[in-house]
C-alpha cells in the first residue's frame, strides 16, 4: 500500500445538536486523487475545514505526514504543504494576476512571517518568472497585468489554483473546483487537474459534478449525513445501490 499523506481518524464534529461528522476515517494515499461526494449538507465542506484548521474536530485527529494538524493555525498547515482552493474563489482583488501568484510564491519562499522592508519587488526577477510560468500553465498569462476584479468566475478559480500550485503543495484540497462554471470551462479545468495529477500531486476533491468526479478520481468516498457510507474505486461506487439511494434518491448515476 502506498504512503498515506493525510490520515483522518475517527473525527467527530457537532454543531449544536447536529452531528456534522461522525466517526470519519479517511486515508489519502500519496499521488492519488481522492474524491469526496455526497448530497448537500452531508458534511463535505466541514470535513475540508477540519483538514485545513478552520475548524477543530470535537474528537479524533487529522494527521498530515505524521504531524497532527488538530489545533494548528491555518497558515502553519499551509506552510507544511497543504493548499486549498475555496468554493467561492478567494483571491486578491485590486491586485493584478501576476501579483496574486507572486504573493503565494513569496509565502512558500519566505515563510509565515518575513520582514525586509527595503527589498524591492521589481528586483525579484526569479520570483516573477516563476509566477509567469505558473500563469502560462493555467492559461492566464495574457491577462497577467490585469486586475483580478475583471476576471470571469472560471478564470478566478484557475487563478486561485495557480496560487496553490506555485507553492508546490504536497496535498491540494479542492472544494467544488468547477461549481458555477460553463461546460467549456469545466472541461478546461479537468484537463488542468489531469496534468497536475501526472506530476504526482495528491489531491482531495469535493465535487457535485459526476462528470468531473469520474474523470479524475482514483478513489471515491461517499458522505451522507456526516458518515462515510461507501468507499472504493469509481466503478464500484457507480454500481453501489446504497450510494444511488443516498445520493440520487434511487435514480441512476
Amino acid at each position: 500500500m502506498a504512503n498515506v499523506v493525510l490520515d483522518v481518524s475517527d473525527v467527530n464534529k457537532t454543531f449544536g445538536g447536529l452531528q456534522a461528522l461522525s466517526h470519519i476515517n479517511l486515508q489519502i494515499e500519496e499521488g492519488k486523487t481522492h474524491a469526496v461526494i455526497g448530497p448537500n449538507g452531508a458534511g463535505k465542506s466541514t470535513l475540508l475545514n477540519v483538514c485545513v484548521g478552520r475548524l477543530a474536530p470535537d474528537t479524533g485527529a487529522v494527521m498530515f505526514d505524521g504531524v497532527n494538524l488538530t489545533g494548528m493555525d491555518p497558515y502553519d498547515i499551509n506552510q507544511l504543504g497543504v493548499a486549498r482552493v475555496f468554493q467561492t474563489p478567494e483571491i486578491f482583488l485590486d491586485l493584478t494576476l501576476i501579483q496574486n501568484v507572486e504573493i503565494a510564491a513569496l509565502a512558500k519562499r519566505d515563510g509565515a512571517f518575513h520582514f525586509r522592508p527595503f527589498r524591492l519587488m521589481y528586483k525579484e526577477k526569479a520570483l516573477t518568472e516563476e509566477a509567469e510560468h505558473m500563469l502560462e500553465d493555467v492559461g492566464l498569462y495574457r491577462l497577467k497585468d490585469e486586475h483580478t476584479g475583471n476576471l470571469s468566475r472560471g478564470d478566478k478559480r484557475r487563478l486561485e489554483l495557480a496560487m496553490c500550485l506555485v507553492q508546490h503543495p504536497r496535498l491540494l484540497l479542492l472544494d467544488e473546483p468547477t461549481a458555477g462554471m460553463s461546460r467549456h470551462d469545466t472541461n478546461r479545468t479537468i484537463d488542468l487537474l489531469k496534468r497536475i495529477k501526472e506530476r504526482g500531486m495528491t489531491k482531495v476533491i469535493i465535487e457535485h459534478d459526476m462528470h468531473v468526479v469520474f474523470s479524475l478520481a482514483d478513489k471515491i468516498s461517499v458522505l451522507a449525513q456526516g458518515a462515510i457510507i461507501a468507499e472504493g474505486a469509481p466503478d464500484e461506487i457507480r454500481g453501489n445501490p446504497k450510494v444511488q439511494e443516498a445520493y440520487l434518491g434511487g435514480a441512476h448515476v
Partner: protein, 389 residues
C-alpha cells in the same frame, strides 16, 4: 478597476525621478508657496510635520486598511519624550528625535498588540479608546510626567546634563533646540523638517515597493486568503502599526523642536480625526495623496481662517453696493471662523465624487488628457470606481 491603491511595480529609474522631483518641490516650497501667502517658516514647518504624520498614517490605513482613530496619542507621546530629552540631557534635536521615536515605538507595540486582536470597526474603537485614555491620563494621574494642564515646558533650571557638561553652566536665557550648535529657528527649522520629510517619504516609497508592502495590500484585499496562503497576518499588521506609530512619534518630536513644549491637547481625538481626513482627502493608499491632504487642511486652518470681511469687501469692491454686501455676507460664512464649513464641503465633495481622494481626480485628469492626445484610444478603464476601504 485600475485602483490607485493597487501595487505599483515601478522601476528604479521611475523611483529616482519621483524622489528627485519630490525633494526639489519640498526644498523650494518657500518660493512657490509665496503667491498664496503660505510662505512663512511657522506654517511651512507645520506642512512638513503633518505631512510626515499623514505619510505614516497612510502606511497603516492605506496599505492594510486598518483605520486607527488614535494616532494623535503617538504624536503626543513623541512630543513629551522629545521635550524630556531637552530638559534632561541636551538641546540637540537628534537626541530628542531618537528618543521620541523610540518611546513611541514601544508605546505602539503595546497598543497595537492589544488593538489588533480585532479588526474593522472594533479595531477603530479600541484605538480611539486608547488615545482618549492617554489624553485623560496626561491631564490627571500622569501630571508628574506631563505637567498636566500647564503643559510640559522648558525652564532655565532644567538639568540638561550633557549641555552643561560640555558647555559649562548655561546662560540665563532659555536655550533653543539646535543641531550641533546651529539654532533651529525660523527657516533653519523648516529646512531641518524638510530634510526629515524627504527621508520619511523615501522610507515610505521603499515600503510601498517592497514585498512587505505588497503583502500588506494583500491583507487589505483578502485577509482570509492570506492566512490560507501561509501568512501569519498578525505580526505583519503589528509591524505596520508600529512603523506608522513611529512616524507619528517623529512628527510629534518635530513639533517639540519647532515649539519646545508639549501639551495633552495634541492627543485629543480631534487630532486623530484630522489625520484621517488628511489621508482620505488626499487619497488613502497613494504615495503623495496624504501629503497633499495634510497641506490643504493646514492651509485652510492657517490662511483661510484668517480671511475676514474686510478682505472680502475689497475683493468684491467692483460690484454694486447691494450685491457686494449680499455676496460678502454669504461668503463670510465660509471664511474666518467658518473655515471648517469650507473644509467640510470640500471633504464631502471629494468623498462623494472622488472616493479615491484628490489623487483620483488628478489621475482622471491625466488619463483624460492622455486619451485625448491619443485620439479617442482610451487609457483608463470604463469600470465604475469603487471607494477603497
Amino acid at each position: 478597476m485600475a485602483s490607485l491603491t493597487a501595487f505599483q511595480p515601478s522601476t528604479p529609474k521611475r523611483d529616482a525621478i519621483i524622489m528627485a522631483v519630490f525633494a526639489a518641490v519640498v526644498l523650494t516650497a518657500p518660493i512657490w508657496l509665496t503667491p498664496i501667502g503660505a510662505s512663512y517658516p511657522d506654517l511651512l514647518q507645520r506642512f512638513a510635520i503633518f505631512g510626515i504624520f499623514a505619510i505614516g498614517f497612510n502606511i497603516l490605513f492605506g496599505l492594510t486598511g486598518y483605520l486607527s482613530f488614535g494616532h494623535a496619542a503617538f504624536l503626543g507621546v513623541g512630543s513629551y519624550a522629545a521635550v524630556w530629552m531637552f530638559k534632561l540631557l541636551t538641546m540637540n534635536v537628534l537626541v530628542a528625535i531618537a528618543f521620541g521615536v523610540l518611546v513611541t515605538a514601544l508605546f505602539s507595540i503595546v497598543i497595537g498588540y492589544v488593538c489588533l486582536r480585532r479588526s474593522g470597526i472594533y479595531f477603530s474603537i479600541l484605538t480611539l479608546a486608547f488615545a482618549q485614555m492617554s489624553y485623560n491620563m496626561a491631564y490627571s494621574v500622569l501630571t508628574p510626567i506631563t505637567n498636566g494642564e500647564t503643559a510640559l515646558i522648558l525652564e532655565t533650571a532644567d538639568p540638561r546634563i550633557i549641555d552643561r557638561a560640555l558647555l559649562g553652566d548655561a546662560k540665563e536665557a532659555l536655550p533653543s533646540p539646535s543641531l550641533f550648535g546651529l539654532e533651529l529657528t525660523g527657516y533653519a527649522a523648516f529646512y531641518f523638517c524638510a530634510v526629515v520629510l524627504i527621508l520619511a517619504f523615501w522610507v515610505s516609497l521603499r515600503i510601498f515597493r517592497s514585498p512587505f508592502g505588497l503583502k500588506l495590500l494583500a491583507i487589505k484585499s483578502n485577509q482570509n486568503r492570506m492566512i490560507y496562503t501561509g501568512y501569519n497576518t498578525r505580526p505583519y499588521l503589528l509591524v505596520a502599526f508600529v512603523i506608522s506609530g513611529m512616524y507619528a512619534g517623529l512628527a510629534g518630536s518635530l513639533m517639540a523642536i519647532t515649539d519646545p513644549l508639549a501639551g495633552a491637547e495634541r492627543m485629543q481625538w480631534t487630532a486623530s480625526g484630522e489625520v484621517v481626513l488628511m489621508t482620505i482627502l488626499g487619497g488613502a493608499g497613494t504615495l503623495i495623496g496624504p501629503l497633499l491632504g495634510a497641506g490643504i487642511i493646514k492651509y485652510f486652518e492657517n490662511i483661510f481662517s484668517a480671511v475676514g470681511k474686510t478682505q472680502l469687501s475689497e475683493l468684491f469692491a467692483f460690484l454694486p453696493d447691494g450685491l457686494n454686501e449680499a455676496l460678502v455676507g454669504l461668503m463670510s460664512l465660509f471664511v474666518g471662523e467658518g473655515w471648517h464649513l469650507t473644509l467640510g464641503v470640500l471633504f464631502m465633495l471629494v468623498v462623494i465624487f472622488l472616493p479615491g481622494g484628490l489623487m483620483e481626480g488628478i489621475k482622471r485628469l491625466t488619463d483624460w488628457a492622455k486619451s485625448r492626445r491619443q485620439g479617442g484610444e482610451t487609457v483608463g478603464d470604463g469600470a465604475a470606481h469603487q471607494p477603497s476601504e
